[in-house]
């Protein structure tokens, strides 16, 4: 499963970042933050060419030696980033897509929570945590 999932607001500040605790949290923050470069590049590229295709999945943003970083952007320009271990070869594109879909659903649930103030970092222990691709590790 993933080693890090991140939800990033439209303004590019993190709403939610959670990573496998055994590996440096900071490293993932750097990785996810840097991946925004590619996300923005892809979004602007999509805006020109594939505006009406409504493809939210951005695919592999960039690989590193140890990790693969995948991106997904909602229609409201909230970005999801999932980092998986490069050695984890069982994850194909379809699995990543379905992870993103689940993450999107969970995020929608969080947004539906009347006690959640949109734009605030997601603190709730029950919302996004319910779905835990990280728990598999």
């Amino acid at each position: 499963m993933a080693v890090c999932i991140a939800v990033i607001a439209k303004e590019n500040y993190p709403l939610y970042i959670r990573s496998v605790p055994t590996q440096g949290e900071l490293k993932f923050h750097y990785t996810v933050h840097t991946s925004l470069d590619v996300v923005e590049e892809k979004i602007s590229g999509v805006g020109k060419a594939l505006a009406d295709q409504r493809e939210l999945y951005l695919g592999l943003l960039y690989p590193t030696e140890d990790y693969k970083v995948y991106g997904y952007v909602t229609n409201s320009k909230v970005k999801f980033v999932i980092v998986v271990d490069s050695s984890n070869t069982s994850l194909r594109d379809n699995e990543i897509r379905s992870m993103f879909r689940k993450l999107h659903n969970s995020f929608t649930d969080v947004m539906c929570n009347p006690f959640y103030n949109p734009g605030d970092p997601i603190q709730s222990k029950t919302d996004l945590m319910k779905w835990q691709p990280l728990n598999g590790l």
């Binding site: 933050h33 925004l36 470069d37």
Partner: protein, 1215 residues
């Protein structure tokens, strides 16, 4: 090395050699459609061939699967046109050739018969030319007649020759393709069979690799690079899958050979189309994983470049490098540490070189997004090599590091011959970089900057900054904080602007280290402050940074203080005013409570904390709407900084009142932070928003301060008490906490916090307790003293000037209260100091309190309202007071009383006006009966209070009627006097009154002065109406006689009448007038006249006239009036019988109403000739007598008039 499909040529070699040139030239000229098996899409293909001489050994032996050397087509060339020759030698040769082919199972052959006209001309007895071809066809091509073609005059430029060529080439191509399809199909089938055997023991990937690569070669040979690439990709995938399976525990035996330790890491080699060294290794089954991968990639790279897809090379290269590292890990291949880094570094650079070799510069720049990954990867790897070999430390490598370097260099082997001559080869670069610290730095910086430049060029600023950060780390390791700082600050900016707290903290920590080394104390302390309050750090770290600040603060040094942003260590949460209105008067205490949340890990003792304030001398109250942020309870809540709130609209209400009448003229909403929101928001600036923490902290000088000393700033609240200011509006601008040399400054307070200090003059106001103050009764008035800035001292007293008409009686209660507390004081020390002055001593009262007490005052009702005197007040002032006016609507007479009060705070007297209402209206009248006189006094209550009235006195009579609302009490007294009647009588009516329910003690006197003039009766008038002569009764329409007798009862006083002496007899001239206002009578003849009346008692004068009753019944007498007749003194006596003259003169008469009614009646003889005709000149006057001077005896007298005997015949003559 150009590979082409092999086509063998047998037969006449000379002939073939002659045709070879045009054949090789023309064959690839036109494409052919290649239909493929297994549903693969057909392709257009340009065919080429390598024509070689047929040899038996060229034919593949059984089991040889090599495709590259496989002859796809065998052609037999002959130009034989002679049947004899054919039969003699050619046929035999052909048969041998066919046999050889058949032996090897090759069915792809063609017999080409070249015909030429030259030969025909030489031999005349030849058979028809087709016969040879036919013969051959008969002999060899049983069912495949197309296997034999003829070519006509191939070396001549004729249309026939052209035609023949093209059909030959078409045939040749078709056959070639057929051969490809057949042979490749067979090969593929074999290959698949081999692949299916991969689970069998003893299966070797290397063998299979060679087989499939053969296919790839053929495709490449056929220029089908796509197909060739597919073969390699399949191999790649197959191998990857095996590695993955191995990782999953399903290891294949053959994979063992790939698991041998890596001994060579000399990187990819992409400069040769086929790396035969590595290929041999694979073929021998001795290749390592890196060898296989390198070879595979070099082939893929070659094909991709053939396909003009260089950018795919870079992407695949990166993937490959990552993958290899992973696979080696997965297969647990032992690798010398750093070896892979070398391999990756070399490979990256090799790929980049290769790409640079096939693209021009502009193309490279446009596609740097594809290459930048490799650059970065190379940089990273070089960096880790540097770390490994001790090239990054300040001291340079030690011996252990050097050993490692030597090992690594050994693994590189010798440089490959291809790059020996290029000075910039990756191999040379790596060797140089590892050779010395300086060289390493040079290469590392070169790579880093190149990668950063590329990132910036393609807009990946975050990536560029991350690189910059690792560059900064490098500089720090090298002990060069100066160079590191900018990179760190740059990346900090991006984390701050996007609120990534963890990277932010980390970067900031690095900055702190850097600034410490640079001795930038201000910045270091600022960063430390931020770090000390950073919850991402451990408590220990936070304490460390906090201690750094405290240590610095406690140092005594001469240089100036350091100002830090307070917002980094404390958060201003709330600000609370007591009183909550934030509005205080001068010298009052204003409690300002700041709730500061300290983010420091330890309690910090501040020497003092001060708030600088900005003073504006505005009118208090004018800024009320500006302080919208202040809650009604006096608290101002400061919003916590959150990333979302930065973009929120700050709206405020705007109300505009028109200046004239203060009505609302416009209302709206205004956005206060529009300048922030409307800013251009492009991508470049979004990351470059200024770092608020590092902006200059300008400390305002000379501003007024609120101060609190020795505050321990532990998480909690701090309060500051502050007093005494000049009146005005104060705006809190800054907060500043002093901590030794360190000052914590909060440069701006938003929302705007203001408080007001006002100053007020003492004020005295006196107000009635009831709606109206009634004169004559004790009334309570309320004294209200707003002490303002004046503090009432002991002995201060109010001096009230008394007036006669309004004495101050006493005060009842007194209370004193301020805005917060109410103090009720008992009344003491209240006594008039003199008759003229009432002194009220005031209790000691602090400023800005309100003193209230009640005082009873009494306003005497003036006995004669018409006449008022101005009185001199005791304090020497003229009081302009007691101006009476009558309010007609209420019927009350008002008395304005001005009270002069001397206040202790002012040298001037305060004039306070009180309006009293007189509750009564009084009228008097004199009534006469002959000589008897009566006085009637009418007293009317016009107030809304019920009164009791006693002791009305004019005579000795006493009775106690009650006087209800609007009720009138009439009192009548008879006047009697002995002796001569007085000319004028001064009377006083007095009564006692009190509210109806009040006890007797509350009775107040009411006096009414009036004067009666000319009381005695001078004349009496009697009249008698008699019927005409001979009649019994008076009848309507009949003339009756009216006899008026005037009798003088007493001699008039001198002033009363004007005498005229005629014949020694003193007479007065009287004007009489008989008027009937009720139209009962018609006065016939003269209705008025002047008579001379002797001035002697009891003198009588009789006047006769005729009147006619107009109605029947008891008719009242017509009224008879007497006037004094005053002829104009200068003019001769006007004849008495000039009625009209008198009429006109009535303008000047006193009693105009009567004259008017007289005129309007139009009854008698008046209005004869109109007024305007009369000349205006001195006219005689008539003057009325006083009310008691003439007694009219006819008043109330009636006479009976009978109706006329015959109504119908009655005629009325009116003259």
């Amino acid at each position: 090395m150009e590979n082409k499909p092999i086509v063998t040529c047998a037969g006449d070699q000379n002939l073939f050699t002659a045709l070879y040139g045009s054949l090789t030239q023309q064959l690839p000229r036109e494409p052919m459609e290649w239909r493929r098996s297994y549903g693969r899409a057909p392709k257009m293909i340009y065919l080429e061939a390598n024509f070689v001489q047929f040899k038996e050994e060229l034919l593949p032996k059984e089991g040889n699967k090599a495709l590259l050397t496989f002859p796809f087509l065998h052609i037999y060339w002959t130009d034989c046109c002679d049947t004899e020759v054919y039969k003699a030698s050619v046929k035999e040769d052909m048969q041998r050739w066919q046999a050889a082919l058949r032996l090897h199972g090759s069915v792809d052959w063609l017999i080409a018969v070249v015909e030429s006209d030259n030969k025909k001309k030489n031999k005349t007895n030849i058979l028809p030319r087709t016969s040879i071809v036919d013969k051959i066809r008969n002999d060899f091509c049983n069912k495949q007649s197309d296997r034999c073609v003829s070519l006509c005059d191939p070396l001549k430029e004729s249309s026939r020759s052209q035609e023949s060529w093209s059909s030959f080439l078409m045939k040749l191509r078709t056959l070639l393709l057929m051969s490809f399809t057949r042979n490749l199909g067979r090969f593929e089938d074999d290959m698949r069979t081999l692949r299916e055997k991969r689970t069998e023991p003893g299966w070797s990937f290397c063998d299979y690799f060679m087989v499939q690569e053969e296919l790839a070669f053929v495709f490449e040979m056929l220029q089908q690079f796509e197909e060739a690439l597919v073969q390699y990709d399949e191999l790649d995938a197959l191998f990857t899958q095996y590695v993955l399976n191995f990782g999953a525990g399903d290891g294949a035996n053959w994979l063992g050979s790939f698991c041998q330790p890596v001994r060579s890491w000399n990187g990819l080699l992409l400069r040769r189309p086929i790396d035969m060294e590595k290929r041999d290794l694979i073929q021998r089954g001795e290749a390592s994983l890196l060898d296989l991968r390198s070879y595979l990639f070099s082939r893929q790279c070659t094909l991709l470049i053939f396909l003009q897809r260089p950018w795919e090379v870079t992407a695949r290269a990166l993937e490959l490098l990552h993958n290899c590292v992973q696979e080696l890990r997965l297969l647990e291949v032992s690798v010398v540490s750093g070896a892979l880094d070398c391999w990756v570094f070399l490979s990256c650079l090799e790929v980049l070189h290769r790409i640079e070799g096939c693209c021009d510069r502009s193309q490279l720049e446009a596609n740097s997004s594809h290459t930048v990954g490799l650059w970065t990867y190379a940089t990273e790897k070089l960096r880790s090599l540097g770390d490994l070999c001790g090239l990054v430390s300040e001291n340079g490598p030690n011996s252990e590091d050097l050993n490692k370097t030597v090992d690594l260099l050994a693994g590189l082997g010798a440089e490959r011959p291809e790059t020996v001559n290029s000075p910039q080869s990756p191999y040379k670069k790596l060797k140089e970089a590892l050779s010395s610290v300086e060289a390493f730095e040079k290469h590392y910086l070169e790579l880093s900057h190149a990668a950063m430049e590329m990132y910036r060029a393609i807009g990946r600023l975050r990536s560029a900054r991350l690189l910059g950060k690792s560059l900064a780390e490098f500089y720090m390791r090298k002990g060069d904080p100066q160079s590191a700082e900018n990179f760190l600050l740059d990346s900090l900016k991006s984390y701050v602007s996007e609120s990534w707290s963890l990277p932010l903290t980390h970067t900031r920590k690095q900055i702190a280290e850097c600034q410490k080394q640079l001795q930038k104390m201000d910045e270091y302390l600022q960063t430390s402050a931020l770090l000390a309050s950073d919850t991402n750090l451990s408590d220990e770290e936070r304490r460390h940074f906090c201690q750094e600040i405290l240590t610095f603060a406690s140092q005594t040094a001469e240089d100036a203080r350091v100002a830090l942003s307070m917002s980094s260590v404390t958060r201003l949460q709330e600000l609370c005013f007591r009183p909550s209105s934030a509005l205080v008067h001068v010298s009052a205490a204003l409690l300002l409570e700041l709730r500061l949340c300290s983010l420091m890990p330890v309690p910090v003792t501040l020497e003092h904390i001060s708030a600088s304030i900005h003073f504006t001398e505005e009118q208090p109250g004018s800024t009320a709407q500006k302080r919208a942020a202040q809650n009604p309870d006096g608290t101002v809540t400061f919003p916590a900084a959150s990333p979302a709130s930065a973009s929120a609209l700050e709206l405020c209400e705007m109300l505009e009142h028109s200046p004239s009448d203060n009505t609302l003229s416009s209302a709206g909403l205004a956005c206060r932070n529009m300048h922030l929101l409307m800013r251009r928001n492009d991508s470049a600036t979004s990351l470059d928003t200024p770092n608020t923490a590092l902006t200059a902290l300008a400390l305002e000088d000379g501003a007024q301060m609120l101060r609190a000393s020795d505050v321990t700033l532990s998480p909690g609240n701090n309060s500051i008490v502050f007093t005494s200011q000049k009146p005005g509006v104060y705006t809190l601008r800054q907060l500043c906490a002093t901590l030794g040399r360190v000052q914590l400054v909060l440069p701006h307070l938003y929302p705007v916090v203001q408080y007001e200090v006002y100053s007020q003059e003492p004020q005295l106001s006196i107000q009635p307790l009831t709606e109206h103050l009634l004169a004559g009764l004790p009334q309570q008035v309320k004294f209200t003293i707003l002490t303002g800035h004046y503090s009432v001292k002991k002995g201060d007293a109010l001096q009230l000037s008394n007036t006669d008409s309004m004495p101050v009686l006493h005060s009842s209660t007194r209370k004193q209260h301020s805005s917060e507390t109410e103090i009720f004081c008992n009344i003491r020390n209240l006594f008039p100091s003199s008759e003229k002055v009432t002194s009220i001593s005031l209790p000691v009262t602090p400023p800005y309190h309100t003193l209230e007490f009640l005082l009873d005052v009494l306003c005497h009702i003036p006995s004669c309202p018409a006449r008022m005197e101005s009185e001199r007040l005791t304090n020497g002032q003229i009081s302009h007071r007691t101006r009476s006016r009558t309010r007609f609507n209420s019927g009350m007479t008002l008395i304005d009383q001005k009270v002069s009060v001397d206040c202790p705070w002012s040298i001037y007297s305060t004039l306070v006006s009180l309006t009293f209402h007189v509750p009564f209206k009084v009228k008097h009248s004199l009534l006469s009966v002959g000589r008897r006189k009566f006085i009637q006094v009418c007293l009317q209550n016009v107030s809304d209070t019920n009164f009791r009235l006693t002791n009305q006195t004019l005579t000795e009579n006493q009775h106690t009627p009650s006087l209800e609302l609007q009720q009138c009490v009439f009192s009548v007294w008879e006047l009697r006097w002995s002796g001569v009647s007085p000319v004028s009588l001064h009377c006083e009516f007095s009564a006692s009154f009190a509210p109806a329910d009040a006890p007797d003690a509350a009775l107040k006197p009411y006096r009414y002065h009036f004067t009666l003039e000319r009381v005695s009766t001078l004349l009496s008038v009697c009249a008698e109406i008699r019927p005409a002569e001979g009649e019994q009764d008076c009848r309507t329409g009949a003339l009756c006689r009216l006899e008026v007798s005037l009798t003088r009862l007493s001699e008039p006083s001198d002033s009363d009448e004007e005498y005229s002496d005629t014949d020694g007899l003193r007479t007065t001239r009287l004007l009489y007038e008989v008027i009937d206002n009720n139209s009962n009578w018609a006065v016939c003849g003269k209705s008025s006249g002047v008579v001379s009346m002797p001035v002697a008692a009891m003198a009588t004068h009789k006047v006769h006239m005729e009147v006619m009753p107009l109605f029947a019944g008891h008719l009242p007498f017509p009224s008879i009036r007497l006037f004094k007749y005053l002829p104009h003194h200068a003019s001769p006596v006007i004849p008495p019988d000039t009625d009209s003259c008198l009429e006109n003169d009535s303008l000047s008469l006193d009693d105009q109403a009567e004259t008017a009614s007289l005129r309007s009646r139009g009854s008698v003889q008046s209005l004869g000739s109109g007024e305007s005709a009369q000349p205006r000149g001195p006219m005689p006057k008539r003057q009325a007598f006083g009310p008691g001077q003439v007694f009219n005896g006819t008043q109330g007298q009636q006479v009976l008039v009978l109706p006329a005997a015959d109504h119908h015949l009655m005629e009325v003559n009116v003259t």
